[in-house]
């Protein structure tokens, strides 16, 4: 058990260090903090539905550009340099290798949220503590789903830019799919499903103080699914360079 703990700690330390040495983590954290606080202090957030809801609804849009920066090189650099083979030859179950990478990405995400958290506590913004807590929990789950997805896509490319573009395009689609909502009432088929797949739609209910198990599953299930898919891709040895 001690061996496992130190093995996992070594993998995690390597991944966290990579996030900051490669610049992926630092750039994504700075970018997110500057854009979200800039939008708030620059008065760009529409207070129509309340400033707090405005901030929360901005997060998926900004994250569509920022989360792919954090995740784009997590696998693609290993594949490009051939170190994925080295990792695969280590005596560690593949799931723990992918989990260490995922936790390193979540460290980036939680750092982004914590750096922006003071905004939510400013006069005129602060919602009830219950809503604040629920929103923070939802945002962590949202980040988990988005990071797991970005991590999986990074494993399909040897080029980090290609991984970024694929990840950002998919996340933008899932963010703006909320725009299909008005049409969903006309046709209850694909458009409705697309609208309900919107990140922003599920986060907005959190900012209104609605805590729904459906929303929790909406974020938790893709996070688990993409982690398992990533682990399968890595262990199947089909994509090693």
């Amino acid at each position: 058990m001690n061996n496992f703990r130190s093995t996992f700690a070594a993998l995690l330390k390597k991944e966290i260090k990579h996030q900051f040495v490669s610049g992926s983590g630092t750039v994504s954290i700075l970018f997110f903090t500057i854009v979200v606080s800039g939008a708030f202090f620059g008065g760009l957030i529409n207070p129509g539905g309340g400033i707090f809801r405005g901030i929360v609804s901005l997060v998926p849009f900004v994250s569509s550009f920022v989360i792919p920066i954090a995740s784009m090189s997590i696998w693609s650099v290993e594949r490009k340099r051939g170190t994925e083979r080295l990792l695969a030859s280590y005596p560690v179950a593949p799931f723990f290798v992918t989990l260490a990478k995922f936790i390193a990405l979540m460290v980036d995400w939680i750092a982004m949220l914590l750096l922006c958290a003071p905004i939510a506590l400013m006069p005129g913004v602060a919602p009830e503590p219950g809503i604040l807590f629920a929103t923070f929990a939802y945002l962590i789950l949202f980040g988990a789903a988005a990071m797991a997805f970005g991590q999986f896509l990074s494993g399909l490319f040897t080029n980090a830019i290609a991984a970024y573009l694929a990840s950002a395009a998919s996340m933008l689609l899932l963010t703006f799919s909320q725009l299909f909502m008005p049409l969903a009432s006309v046709s209850d088929g694909v458009l409705s499903a697309l609208a309900r797949a919107s990140f922003a739609w599920h986060l907005d209910s959190a900012a209104r103080g609605v805590f729904d198990s459906g929303d929790v599953l909406f974020f938790a299930l893709p996070a688990i699914l993409f982690l398992l898919l990533d682990s399968w891709r890595f262990s199947s040895g089909r994509i090693h360079k």
Binding site: S6, S22, R81, L86
Partner: protein, 244 residues
């Protein structure tokens, strides 16, 4: 000891490996020879647990690589072609990382890191970043990281390609010094390396073993005075057989 039974791997219509069986014993340096595309790298990647075979068995020191990969990998050191290493680490950090991932305690790791640094002539660059090392030095770091957890079996995929003659000599000396305690499987195109430290050889051609055994026996069977001659005869004969 490395044991392989009836191993097969296809890439689409191409048989990269077709029913390969072989054994590498402790104390032997077994060379894996064959032309490009013979299946050498595929075979070594499967032994290291990096690729999955379509069928067959791989066992390292009695542990099945497919059913018990963590235990099998614990007994194995791998040196891959092109020496993949973490460019953002120093030599010591890379070795410490490998030692920890292989479950070594801090004291054992420190002792073994010192040992492999000496064994692979890395004293001068131990604190240097891997990104700043020459190709030859990276290859020696690659060997050091494969040896740091004191594996019982070692697999090397063209580890000395690109080394200058002096570096090549020092690399082979390092291998020779650990060969009594370890089962070594070494893929190369250099028949000079085979004659200097090899005890056995396996010749692959188009995914099949065409000759294997002690080097003396291979030379006798081919009626050849050196490995260069024996290898040329065996590979040419394969071409003739296929045409017939």
């Amino acid at each position: 000891m490395i044991e392989i039974r009836d191993l097969s791997k296809r890439y689409g219509p191409i048989h990269a490996l077709d029913g390969v069986s072989l054994t590498v014993h402790r104390g032997s340096v077994t060379f894996l020879l064959g032309p490009n595309g013979a299946g050498k790298s595929t075979l070594l990647n499967i032994i290291c647990g990096v690729l999955s075979p379509d069928s067959g068995e791989v066992s390292v020191c009695g542990h099945d690589m497919l059913n018990d990969p963590v235990r099998a990998k614990r007994s194995l050191g791998c040196v891959f072609e092109d020496s993949p290493l973490y460019a953002d680490m120093t030599v010591v950090e890379q070795l410490a990382f490998t030692a920890t991932v292989f479950g070594m305690g801090a004291k054992d790791a420190e002792r073994e890191i010192e040992r492999v640094i000496q064994l692979c002539d890395l004293e001068q660059c131990a604190r240097r970043g891997i990104a700043r090392l020459s190709k030859g030095t990276r290859q020696r770091v690659s060997l050091a990281q494969a040896l740091v957890h004191v594996p019982k079996a070692l697999v090397l995929d063209e580890p000395a390609s690109g080394l200058d003659p002096l570096q090549g000599e020092s690399f082979l000396r390092a291998l020779s010094s650990i060969s009594r305690e370890t089962a070594i499987l070494y893929s190369t195109h250099s028949l000079r390396e085979v004659e200097s430290i090899g005890t056995d050889a396996i010749i692959l051609h188009e995914g099949k073993v065409v000759e294997s055994g002690g080097i003396r026996g291979i030379l006798d069977r081919a009626n050849a005075s050196n490995m260069d001659e024996a290898y040329s005869q065996l590979i040419s004969a394969q071409g003739v057989n296929r045409r017939e």
